[in-house]
Each structure stands twice: as structure tokens, then as C-alpha cells.
Symmetry: C2
DNA sequence: TTGAAAGCGTTACCAT
DNA sequence: ATGGTAACGCTTTCAA
């Protein structure tokens, strides 16, 4: 109930007839305390609904057991916050962090103060930072890492950086997507994505790899450097068809949401999929298999990625070296391409 | 840099040639301190990258300025974590909380320990709790509120409870959806949603209201009490058509994701939409307007809802009374129904 | 308008 | 195996 003053550790110790030190050790399962004593005190704590005061504990230990997760949204495209892929990553991170005894403080790049190191780490709000989404400018992450913030970024792991980056094998993903379309007889492939963005550029390189491997030359006018939103994709596909007619027969998209926008533009014009235009997405969000036609896509293993990000962050917290790493991806073939 | 010991408030005070008290007041913009002094010290803090130690501050003030947001997922349907609607709500809550100077600690009902009051409030991890998604059982919320946790729940605001519930006008939503279909000549309306769930039942009541208002009698065999997932909807629609043929001409869905599953089942059978079957969703997630056909739906104003939830939570934190409240909804007509 | 000092509740060092 | 005690860094009461 609200009224009764909160039990403190020393109150609990008194109830148990031991010192505060012993009570503290008992609750932390310190083996130096006799097992019987430990169990007795833990039971007493439960009985009295006692919880360690996290603020005091954090002040004393200088650790919070909290990790700040920053969604690095791209300015001016508020859409990206609606991308289901992000939620999946956040959900998996929450799971992975909880498994290791950490909690997740959610933030995003619009709201987080500029100085991530000071705001989260120096102020002891969190022990480390995980950034989801490599924006075009990574200055804040670079600064934070330079200041000494334990930090892991989701993004393109080939990028040179002073912090570990975990990400999918984007180049392979782009290659698998284009290769799949080429093998099914589509050769004029639109690339829907901004090659100025590190991850997207990797996918584009993979797209080029596939062309080269097939002895084809990619047409640079088929690259549409759009924002990562359905709306942008819809507009881009509409415009190019208006201007040049149906001058392509396949689309490699940088996300499933982007593919969705493209799909809509095509369907509105009664262009048959995959007959006239085949399309491949990226991410494999839940919705992909529910579209009509179901969307062929490159699945990113977010569970695995989340675990690896947390692992590399914990390495830093423990003073061990941490490294960038690549996550396997796989092509999931559905009706939009065959 | 990592090596240099952290500046404390008293260090900063020394640098400024004032007492710790003065420095503390200056950083908190306490008007009792001369403006010039305040500005001088704030500038000094910025210059030295000083940040108040949140742990110490929280211990001393007994406030965290953190709110725990718990995603109350329904066991056994892991899909719900993928519902984009949830991310939207979380994003808006983050925004609303930040506007009021609070941070968002993310949790979900699988991971949050059973005893929310103890874990979040008693332990001073957070000042209050916002629960998103009224599961069928609200026992944890009831217990937390009984224990004195400042608590607000997103759900059906008509439910009797010992805590404020903010939610959409679900009954009106259900009515608008059914009414819209009826007005467009559809009279055998499937209701896709579990009426054992408070919010869904309200929508169902609205669905019944619309029938009554039109002088129609709803057919109880058209109610499919499915889980809130696309897959469940897909299966339910497939099965009923297999068993009974196309014995309905409209669908009122309990979420856009559910509508998506239904849509897929219909399209696979080449049933024309909205010609043979018209369909209305619920939520208005970003994807709704991008489906083909674009999905008519009931828009939930999550921004407004987030602000109201935060408002009612702050009321409790300030010892003021807090109340349940209803959020306006609106019918958004698109191609899936006309 | 400013300063001194107590105290928030824990943990960990040093004793025993 | 357990206890005494200092210290973590801040805010706030009281005094000047």
C-alpha cells in the first residue's frame, strides 16, 4: 500500500537478525554467505515484498544494468519510425538484453540529446549504447565512441569505424536478389534504394555483382535513390513509368516496405506480377508473406543480430575487445518473383 | 576520454569557486541563484562536458523521471509483437514522455517480472507504468495499482478498474465500420475478432448497433473469435469458405493486420474486392493505404492517446486524481470498401 | 544570495 | 561466515 514507508535493506536485515552487509550479500547470492542464511533472507525479502533500491545500488556500484537503444531515424522521413523491421529489431534486442540481465532504455535520434556519451553514459543512465540504423551521418556515434562510450551500431559492418558494427551481409543480399531475378529471365532490374547510404550501397554492389556474374551490364538509369519509405517507392515507380513507359522487368528493393510501395504502383496499372515485373524485397517482415502476391525477399536474421550486438556490447563493458560482425541472410522465394 | 576520472558536482563547484549547493541550484535553474551565476556555471558545465549523475540524483530525490512501458503481449501468439500498431503507440509514447521530461524504459509482459509494483516502482527503476494492450487477464495491472503503482493502461475504457484506462471509442469504431458496409449494400458481415477480449467486444457491440440501426439482424455464425494475427484471419476465412462457400459479402476486422490476412485469403480465390466482399480494417497503420486495394479502416489517434496516457500518469505522480478517457476515432474510406 | 552539512540506501573494504 | 563503517554524488534544510 502507498502509506507504509518503504522497507530498506537495513530494515530487512534487522528483521532477519543479521547485519546489512550480510543481507546485501545474501540477496546478491554471494557464496561467502552460508546457504541456509542466504535462503532465509531471500525468503524474508519475498515475504515482505522487498526490492533493492536500484538508484542506491547504481550509485554505489557505478553500474546501471541498463542499455540505451537509440533508433537512428533519418530526418525528414518520419515514415521510417513506422517500419515494422525496426520494431522487430527492438523486440529482439529487448529479449537479448533481458537474457543477460539488462534493461532497455528506448530513445531515438530526434529526442536523444546531441551528446550521447554525456547524456547516457557520463550521467550513469545506462552502461552502454546500441544504435539501430546507420544514418548517413554517423558523427554522433563516432563522437560517443571517441569519448569512451561502450557502443555497438547496427549497420554496414564494412564501414570503417571506431566502434563495432553488426549488420547483415548486405552485398550478398543484393546479389542473391538480383541473381534470382536474372535466373528467372528478368534482366532490366530497377534498384530501389539510396546508394549514398552505406547499407544500401552494399546491396547495390551485390546487385552489380549479380549482373557481372551473368555477363550483363547494369543500366545506371535504373537506380532510383529514394528514401526508405513506401511512399517514396510508390512515387518513383509511378513517375518513371509515366516518363519512360514500362522499361524494366524486375525490381530489387531495399526494404519490404519499399517493395510494398512499388507493388502498389504496379498493381494500380494492372501490370502483372511477376509476369511483367518481378519484385524482391528486403527484411522479411511479417507482412511479406501476406501480401498478394506474397513477397519474395531477403530475410535478415534479427534474432541472431540482436544477440551478437549485445555480446559485443558486453565485451566492451568487460574491458574485452569487441568486433564488427556479419549476419547471415537468406533468399526467401515467394510468388512475387516466380 | 576513458581515463580521466569523472567530474563531480563538487569538482565543478570548485572550478567555479562556489559551493556545491550553489552549483546544484544553478544547474537546476533555481531562480534563487543570481542569473549571472547560473549562466556562468551552466556554461562551465557544458565546457567540461559535465552531466549530473542520475543515480545519485535519483537516490537523493526519490524520483527517476523514467516511465516503464510494458507491452502486454498475449501469450502463445508471438505475432502480436510484430503488429506495427504497437510500434506506433510506443513511438508516440516516447515522444509524449520526452516532451514532459521523462524517459521510456521498455519492457514486455513476457519479460517483466510478475510483480510490477515491486520490480519497477518499489525498486525505484521508474516513477510510473504505462501498459499497452489490455490482455484478457489484467491481474498484474490490478495488483500493481492496488499496491500503489502510478499506472495507466491502454485498452477498453469502459472496463471497471482501479486504474485509468485510455482507449479508442471502440464501440463507435465497430459501428462506423459496419454501418459503412451496410450503407454500401453489404449485409452479411463477418466479424473477425475475439469477443472475449474487452476492446474487441466493444467493437462487436458497435457492429451489432449498426445492424440494429439498419433494421438488420446480425448472424451470430459470422463471428469468428480469432487471435489478433494475420495468420489466424487468413486461416479462418479460408476455412469458412471451404466449408460454407462464399456466404458473406463484407468483413469487419479487428485490426489492419487481421484485415490483411483476410484480404490475402480472398485474393487467392479471386474474389473481387470490394465487389463480392468489402472489407474494413482497424488502426490505420501506415501500410493500410498501400495495400491493393487500399484498405478502408478505422483510424486510431495514437498521438492523442499517448498524450492522454502520459497526462493521466503525471496526474497520479502529482497526487491528483486520474481518470479513464476515450479517444476519438474516424472512418477512413479507401478502395477496399467502395 | 550563498554555504555547511546531513542523508538518500546500497555495497565493499577491512576486521574479527 | 558475519559485522562495522565509509563512501558513492547528489539535493535540500537550516543557517548566515
Amino acid at each position: 500500500m502507498k502509506s507504509e514507508r518503504n522497507l530498506t535493506l537495513s530494515d530487512l536485515a534487522k528483521l532477519a537478525g543479521v547485519s546489512t552487509s550480510t543481507a546485501s550479500r545474501a540477496l546478491n547470492n554471494n557464496p561467502v554467505i552460508k546457504l541456509a542464511t542466504r535462503e532465509r533472507i531471500q525468503a524474508l525479502a519475498k515475504e515482505h515484498n522487498f526490492s533493492i533500491n536500484a538508484a542506491a545500488s547504481r550509485l554505489r556500484t557505478q553500474r546501471t544494468n541498463v542499455v540505451a537503444v537509440i533508433l537512428n531515424l533519418i530526418e525528414h522521413t518520419e515514415q521510417s519510425i513506422n517500419d515494422p523491421f525496426l520494431l522487430k529489431v527492438v523486440g529482439d534486442l529487448n529479449q537479448a538484453l533481458n537474457d543477460k540481465g539488462y534493461e532497455l532504455l528506448l530513445s531515438n535520434s530526434f529526442m536523444a540529446k546531441d551528446d550521447w556519451y554525456n547524456y547516457f553514459i557520463n550521467s550513469r543512465r545506462a552502461d552502454g549504447i546500441i544504435v539501430v540504423g546507420q544514418a548517413k551521418s554517423e558523427q554522433k556515434a563516432i563522437d560517443a565512441a571517441k569519448a569512451g562510450a561502450p557502443l555497438v551500431v547496427w549497420g554496414d559492418s564494412n564501414t570503417q569505424s571506431n566502434y563495432p558494427i553488426i549488420g547483415s551481409n548486405n552485398r550478398l543480399g543484393g546479389k542473391l536478389a538480383a541473381q534470382h531475378l536474372i535466373e528467372n529471365g528478368h534482366t532490366r532490374l530497377v534498384f530501389l534504394g539510396d546508394t549514398g547510404h552505406a547499407e544500401m550501397n552494399e546491396r547495390y554492389q551485390g546487385y552489380l555483382d549479380a549482373h557481372k556474374a551473368a555477363g550483363l551490364t547494369a543500366d545506371p538509369t535504373l537506380v532510383f535513390p529514394i528514401d526508405l519509405t513506401s511512399q517514396a517507392a510508390y512515387n518513383a515507380v509511378n513517375e518513371t513509368i509515366l516518363k519512360r513507359g514500362l522499361h524494366f522487368d524486375g525490381i530489387v528493393s531495399c526494404s519490404d516496405m519499399v517493395a510494398l510501395g512499388a507493388l502498389k504502383a504496379l498493381k494500380e496499372r494492372y501490370i502483372s506480377i511477376p509476369g511483367e515485373v518481378a519484385i524482391v524485397g528486403f527484411d522479411d517482415i511479417a507482412m511479406a508473406e501476406l501480401l498478394h502476391p506474397a513477397l519474395t525477399t531477403i530475410r535478415q536474421n534479427t534474432r541472431d543480430a540482436a544477440n551478437k550486438m549485445v555480446e559485443q556490447l558486453l565485451n566492451q563493458l568487460n574491458g574485452e575487445p569487441a568486433f564488427s560482425d556479419v549476419i547471415d541472410i537468406e533468399l526467401v522465394v515467394r510468388k512475387s518473383s516466380v
